[in-house]
């Protein structure tokens, strides 16, 4: 039943023939493609990781740029507000000064008009006084007539002076 014979030698040679056939036509192509696939997957994973890292870096960069832009916008708004405030204050100040000037001018105008009016009144009083005096002298009137004449002149003066 158990006998070692020439089959041993045949099987020994047969095995190495099979190794040679399979190594050349089966295992090498299959192991090659498995290795190529492994390398491709490793490469793809490395690329994916690199892309992810790059995306993360870009995202951080954009976030930093956005933060800077926000800060700059805030600064611009603050600056504009300050400028507007300054302009407003300057305008108010200018307006106030203008008001003061106009008030002063108005006051001066009033004073000038008043002085003019007073001058006119004085001139009218003089001319009226002259007219009264002329009438008194010309008519030689009695005391009662003089009094009435003066009263009349004063009334006229008042109505004229007051316009």
């Amino acid at each position: 039943m158990v006998e070692i014979n020439g089959t041993l030698l045949v099987q020994f040679i047969n095995f190495f023939i099979l190794v040679a056939i399979l190594a050349k036509f089966a295992f090498k192509p299959l192991v090659g493609v498995m290795e190529a696939r492994r390398k491709k997957i490793e490469g793809d994973l490395a690329n994916a990781q690199a892309t992810l890292d790059s995306a993360e870096a870009t995202k951080k960069e954009y976030e930093a740029q956005l933060a800077n832009a926000r800060k700059e916008a805030q600064a611009i708004v603050e600056k504009a507000a300050q400028l507007a405030e300054r302009n407003t204050q300057a305008q108010i100040k200018e307006l106030k000064e203008q008001l003061v000037r106009e008030k002063e001018e108005a006051r001066n105008e009033i004073a000038r008009e008043q002085a003019k009016a007073m001058e006119k009144m004085r001139e009218d009083m003089i001319s009226l006084s002259m007219a009264i005096a002329g009438k008194i002298v010309a008519k030689n009137m009695d005391s009662q007539a003089n009094v009435d004449l003066v009263k009349e002149a004063i009334e006229k003066l008042d109505s004229k002076a007051l316009g």
């Binding site: 070692i4 041993l8 099987q11 047969n14 095995f15 399979l22 089966a26 493609v33 498995m34």
Partner: protein, 224 residues
């Protein structure tokens, strides 16, 4: 009841005897492996499908177990180890296909298992010498020259244990299957058949992993 398992058709040529049934069955195994390999490699794609997918799965599963003892040297000897595995696997399972004494396992013949074991020993010596040069043979004389006797005994015992383990498991499994088939046909042999299929895979794996281990010891510096 006469057992068919373990008997061989012996032919005498050139002063030697040859078990022709074993040789024929070996060629059948070759044919099966080559046909499967042909379909697996007919159109090798980066995205595997069909037979290529199945064969790649087997190679990946076995390769992941064999890489450990060999490390970086695995790729150089992977073809040898994969051939051991697929040849023994198909040989073990071939005898389990129900047939009227036509299909038998080549591995139920000690000549086959011993031939494989000797092939493993010779391969280990050649690969060891190729990778480490003549210094490979120094370890036979370490730690002292007298230890060469023990090393030679070890080198003899390795193929003997490898071949008898495989031969014993397979021939015993087939004998029991034949006995059960004669004593209680149908259900009981089917249960044993399923168990034998499992044993066939395990024995192919054990043989390959042991050869890998011996090879690892031969080519890795830290082992000597």
């Amino acid at each position: 009841m006469e057992l068919h398992t373990g008997t061989h058709d012996v032919v005498h040529m050139w002063g030697m005897a040859f078990n022709m049934d074993t040789i024929y069955m070996t060629w059948v195994v070759f044919a099966i492996i080559i046909v499967v390999a042909f379909f697996a490699t007919r159109q090798v794609n980066m995205v595997p499908s069909g037979v290529q997918n199945v064969v790649e799965f087997i190679l990946e599963a076995i390769g992941s177990q064999l890489k450990g003892p060999l490390g970086k040297h695995f790729s150089k000897v992977s073809s040898l180890l994969f051939t051991f595995f697929v040849f023994i696997l198909v040989s073990n399972e071939l005898g389990l296909i129900p047939s009227p004494h036509i299909l038998t396992s080549p591995t139920n013949d000690l000549n086959t298992t011993l031939g494989l074991a000797l092939a493993s020993s010779v391969s280990i010596w050649v690969i060891g010498a190729k990778m480490k040069g003549p210094s490979y043979f120094k370890h036979f004389f370490q730690p002292f020259a007298v230890f060469v006797i023990f090393h030679i005994m070890e080198e003899i015992s390795k193929p003997v244990t490898l071949s008898f383990r495989l031969f014993g498991n397979i021939v015993a499994g087939e004998i029991v299957l034949e006995l059960l088939n004669g004593l209680a046909p149908y259900l009981t042999p089917i249960i044993w058949l399923v168990f034998s299929l499992f044993v066939g895979v395990i024995q192919a794996f054990v043989f390959t992993i042991l050869v890998t281990s011996y090879l690892g010891m031969a080519i890795n510096d830290e082992e000597h």
